[in-house]
């Protein structure tokens, strides 16, 4: 993906900005402009807290191109405290350390280096909440 794509999605990737439906109150991440709950337009931005729990997880041992340097890395579905599930990598956990129900919080980390231009792409990951 090129630079314009990363620029377009910066609010989502740096600050977890989604949307809230003004008709039914559903909180949406990622933003999608039409509420899947009530099919009404949903354009009002909503910034998520970034806190949640691990809903499921996996340790990736065979990475797609561009992610090889991170192997092994842990990916997860995180259930945000406001409701939505979000797909992301976990960070600051060793392989096999994650568990379902683990409290996590969002942090901004390097995602990958993009192609030959060498742009370093940042975005959200989740780390265990420090007890």
């Amino acid at each position: 993906m090129g630079i314009p794509n990363h620029w377009r999605t910066q609010h989502q990737r740096y600050r977890l900005v989604g949307e809230i439906c003004q008709h039914c109150g559903a909180k949406l991440f990622p933003p999608r402009d039409v509420c899947p709950e009530c099919s009404q337009p949903a354009y009002e931005p909503f910034t998520f807290s970034g806190r949640g729990q691990v809903y499921s997880h996996s340790t990736v041992l065979h990475a797609p191109r561009g992610y090889e340097e991170f192997v092994p890395y842990t990916v997860a579905l995180v259930k945000l405290e406001e409701g939505p599930l979000v797909t992301a990598q976990l960070t600051d956990v060793d392989a096999g350390e994650a568990y379902i129900g683990m409290p996590v919080e969002m942090v901004t980390r390097k995602q990958r280096e993009d192609g030959e231009e060498g742009a370093i792409i940042y975005g959200y990951k989740f780390r265990p909440v420090l007890q």
Partner: protein, 385 residues
């Protein structure tokens, strides 16, 4: 709408076909299907394919394949719906014949995957997911399925070993399929000791990617007798969609599009799940086999694994699946798989399934799943003779 039947089938052996190009694979399958149907001409050709641009450096497959098989000039296009591309091509062919737009239509599925190395194929397959919100985070297609399997094991208390019965059954059935990639039995121990890819999914949970092509020829049922004595009727053709990303689904462990397309198909055919004599399920991963059995109504939620463990999916069981090896044993040439499944159902309903023949098979179902369940295409076939 006109009733539609399948009057010809063709397939190539699935595997690493280094010596054959994409057009040669497709050509071999299409020509075999045309010979089987005793036709020399067709009105239209639909080519199902997912990754030719990414892996085989070729798009524009409709014209390419039509020309290559001697059908230059006819209407022909490529159809794409990730791993469900094959059945999507059949669906388009069905619509064309049922709607009266054409009489003789060919649906072909083809995938050429072994021209590229592992990471390239891994990245290409991940295109089935949500690019900005799943694959951006480094999820392979296997990892997406692994998230489902991990949660499933947690919610319903299954161990990884419990899924072995799916892979063992598939490989056992592949033994008698001359077109299968891995016609060798496997043991539970081999299943357990296989190399991890994205935990809990290991190599034996996963279907192997491969090269392959398959094709079917359709015509109106009332004209089928003019071509062949062993036509098989398409009793139902149904498509449903869901959110591409699993995080966008209210209940990730319930494959809503599987449920919807299966229910539509049962209604069209006028039957219930109990009437199905065999089911070519989309067992790309063991977890997908379990989830699709549940959403199709063959098992209660969380109990798809039990069907496998208790032998209900075996050739002599209550609902035989993967009767010619499935995606796991026959191999998964992604965009071709949906047509292979239908070819295998036709073999069963014609009584041509050899050592794997299901006795008195009358109703056969094939279900092709795109991505982790976002496009699901169900066909039900009925024996005519």
């Amino acid at each position: 709408m006109r009733d539609v039947s399948i009057i010809g089938i063709g397939q190539t052996k699935v595997g690493e076909n280094w010596e054959k190009s994409l057009r040669q694979l497709a050509g071999e399958a299409v020509l075999a299907a045309m010979r089987d149907a005793s036709i020399e001409m067709a009105d239209m050709l639909y080519v199902g394919n997912m990754l030719s641009g990414e892996i085989a450096a070729q798009e524009h497959l409709g014209a390419l394949v039509a020309d290559f098989v001697g059908l230059r000039g006819i209407e022909a296009v490529k159809v794409e719906a990730a791993c469900a591309s094959g059945a999507a091509a059949l669906r388009q062919a069905y619509i064309a014949v049922a709607g009266g737009m054409a009489d003789v239509v060919i649906a072909c599925g083809v995938e050429k995957m072994t021209d590229e190395v592992g990471e390239v194929v891994t990245s290409a397959l991940a295109l089935a997911g949500d690019g900005e919100y799943e694959t951006f985070h480094g999820l392979s297609f296997v990892a997406i399925n692994a998230l489902l399997m991990q949660r499933y094991m947690y919610e319903f208390g299954w161990k990884h070993r419990d899924f072995a019965a799916f892979a063992v059954n598939a490989h056992q059935n592949a033994v008698h399929n001359p077109y299968a990639m891995f016609p060798k039995p496997i043991t539970v121990e081999q299943f357990e000791q296989a190399r991890l890819i994205a935990d809990p999914i290991n190599l034996m949970d996963s279907s192997p990617v491969a090269d392959g092509a398959a094709a079917v020829v359709l015509c109106p049922t009332e004209q089928a007798r003019a071509f062949t004595d062993n036509a098989v009727r398409i009793a139902a053709s149904a498509v449903a969609t869901d959110a591409v990303a699993i995080h966008d689904r209210p209940d990730p462990l319930f494959l809503q599009a599987v449920y919807t397309s299966a229910q539509k198909a049962y209604r069209q055919a006028g039957i219930t799940p109990q009437d199905i004599d065999l089911f070519e399920a989309h067992d790309a991963f063991t977890i997908m086999a379990a989830l699709s059995l549940e959403a199709c109504g063959f098992a209660p939620r969380g109990q798809g694994v039990r069907l496998a463990q208790e032998g209900d999916i075996a050739l002599d069981g209550r609902i035989p699946i993967s009767t010619m090896g499935g995606l796991k044993g026959r191999g998964h040439p992604v965009g071709a798989t949906g047509i292979y499944q239908v070819v295998e159902v036709v073999q069963q309903l014609r009584g041509q399934a050899g050592g794997n023949q299901i006795k008195d098979a009358h109703w056969g179902m094939a279900q092709n799943i795109g991505g982790s369940g976002a496009t699901v295409i169900t066909h039900i076939m009925e024996a005519l003779s």
